[in-house]
């Protein structure tokens, strides 16, 4: 008995080292971008040539860059609103709608996980050309709603499912209409998840490249701007400075979203009505 326990502990320790190594593998390549963004050299190579903020200064007063940033922010906000609205309604009706249609919609909403981005991109490209939108910011918003939809549905569904059934039943029994129950009871109780879904879908849109590549017209988003700069070796350091800013913002938003999501779930479990 005691030998197996020490065996398990030793195994756990070795696994712990493995996990540490795995995390290093996960983060090290990405952390090279900030490292070399402060390096005083055009090339991303060792030895480091000294500290500079020059590459960050080149980010200022670049109209192409600020245009792409503005596009990404607007598209991200609109697409995240759309994806969050769809995520809320689809998962709510899936759980409480009791209709085959609602269940079907919820199943199809999670289908984009099983379609490679390139096919999502070309199918929407055909569609937006057919309805006369063409490649444009509206088309990108539609594409990003689709890409973010599985995430918002999963986040909202697990949140709604964690709210004790009795709360909704009590509201309905006390005479609240469906609409009132949804708006005054269920939605406020899942507010952390709504915020989390919004932030995560904003991030998905903000960082998305594979689908936007097909849907962008004359107004690129930030990832498309980065892609266009990658052809020029001389703009590599600028890309790394920009990448560092984007990574920092992404980390902060993703961390807040995760904290919100878990805080929400914890609160629901602590007060099981």
């Amino acid at each position: 008995m005691s030998t197996t326990r020490t065996d398990a502990n030793a195994g756990g320790r070795w696994l712990g080292f493995y996990v540490l190594g795995y995390l290093v593998f996960l983060y090290l390549p990405v952390l090279l971008i900030p490292l070399f963004s402060f390096n005083n050299s055009i090339q991303a190579a060792f030895p480091l040539q000294g500290f500079t903020l020059e590459w960050y200064r080149t980010l200022y007063g670049n109209p192409a860059l600020s245009g792409a940033l503005a596009n990404s922010l607007v598209i991200g906000a609109v697409a995240a609103s759309g994806a969050t609205l769809c995520g809320i309604t689809v998962s709510y009706m899936d759980l409480y709608g009791r209709s085959p249609l609602a269940a079907t919609i919820s199943a199809i909403a999670r289908l984009p996980i099983l379609i490679p981005g390139v096919i999502v991109g070309i199918s929407l490209l055909i569609l937006v050309n057919l309805i006369g939108l063409g490649p444009s910011r509206v088309s990108i918003v539609l594409g990003h709603i689709l890409v973010a939809l599985p995430t918002t549905v999963v986040v909202m569904r697990s949140r709604f499912a964690a709210i004790p059934k009795t709360i909704r039943e009590a509201a309905l029994d006390l005479g609240a209409s469906d609409w009132t129950t949804f708006r005054r009871v269920m939605l406020p109780l899942s507010l952390p998840a709504v915020l989390s879904a919004f932030m995560l879908s904003f991030l998905i849109s903000f960082d998305e490249f594979i689908v936007v590549f097909f849907l962008a017209g004359t107004e690129p988003t930030l990832p498309l701007y980065i892609w266009s700069q990658l052809r020029f070796p001389r703009s590599l350091p600028t890309v790394m400075a920009l990448g560092t800013v984007i990574l920092t913002v992404s980390f902060v938003i993703a961390a807040s979203a995760e904290i919100l999501r878990h805080r929400g779930l914890g609160a629901a479990r602590r007060n099981p009505a």
Binding site: G16, T89, I119, P223
Partner: protein
């Protein structure tokens, strides 16, 4: 409870049609119009001839005949499958011990570790691939680091523009996808099963092989699927770090809607990719049913 339900209509039966309509509308529009109708358009276009118009002309299976008879497409499809298969294998095998640690050994560090492994999931895919480009380049991080430490004297071209670079980059880019499904499967194994195994005299390895591994297979298959699907159709990583020898099927689809400008043929290639994925999903389903006796 049942008597109450019998004497009074359930709340669900009172749902107003207007509420249902308003709640089903956004999701219905997106799923039926943007997903199903758009995919239907791809299938339709795949059976049309190319006359540079939006929806092509005629009704033909010529595109599929070309895909089936031209060895180029067999080579590229096979290469995509091999690369995506290797990436899936590498991601799942390396993720499994991490998920195992999270489920059984992490203790109070579990939430922090879960957070750390999911965080890269939310950062830019393009930047993660770009990071590998600067690692593997001729004047890049790896070459310069090896020269700096005296391991070799000349920078090598052997890293960038190889299929191996594509495998490593994709495996890194999709690593966070694999951990969560496996972790969830491991975490939901009832602890009583493990206790029963050890009480009945199973050694730790036996109990892992006979109890833990089979019970975690649904999570492993789900992880394999969420890694395989985006990698098999990827066109960004081959373009960034792969070079001409690692053209994948996604690259070909992308070029049909770009330079080559043959949309019907690109649609036919997309239909083939979706059929391949359907086969993989069905195989995974079948395997899942074999292992999934838990529920």
């Amino acid at each position: 409870m049942s008597t109450i339900a019998a004497t009074r209509p359930l709340p669900e039966n009172r749902t107003s049609p207007a509420f249902r309509f308003a709640m089903l509308l956004p999701g219905g529009l997106v799923t039926f119009f943007l997903i199903l109708f758009a995919l239907g358009l791809v299938v339709f276009l795949a059976f049309r001839g190319n006359d540079s118009s939006l929806l092509g002309v005629g009704l033909t299976a010529e595109n599929f005949v070309t895909v089936a008879t031209d060895p180029l497409y067999w080579t590229v499809t096979l290469r995509s499958l091999v690369i995506a298969g290797l990436v899936t294998l590498a991601t799942v095998v390396t993720a499994y011990p991490v998920a195992y640690y999270l489920a059984f050994h992490a203790g109070h560090r579990r939430n922090l570790l879960l957070f750390l492994v999911t965080l890269p999931f939310w950062t830019s895919y393009l930047l993660r691939v770009f990071a590998w480009k600067i690692v593997l380049a001729y004047n890049g991080v790896l070459n310069s680091a090896f020269i700096e430490t005296g391991l070799w004297s000349q920078p090598t071209l052997a890293f960038l523009n190889t299929p191996a670079a594509v495998v490593v980059t994709l495996a890194h880019a999709y690593a966070p996808f694999a951990i969560l499904p496996i972790y969830v499967a491991l975490d939901t194994i009832p602890k009583s099963l493990l206790e029963a195994a050890s009480d009945l005299g199973a050694r730790p390895f036996t109990s892992f092989r006979r109890v833990v591994l089979p019970n975690s297979m649904p999570g492993v298959l789900a992880a394999a699927l969420v890694v395989f699907v985006p990698t098999v159709g990827d066109y960004v990583t081959p373009a960034m770090v792969g070079g001409p020898a690692s053209t994948m099927i996604g690259t070909l689809i992308q070029s049909q809607f770009g330079k080559a400008n043959d949309w019907p043929f690109g649609a036919a290639l997309s239909v083939c990719v979706m059929l391949v994925i359907l086969c993989v999903v069905l195989v995974a389903r079948g395997a899942d049913r074999r292992f999934g006796s838990r529920t």
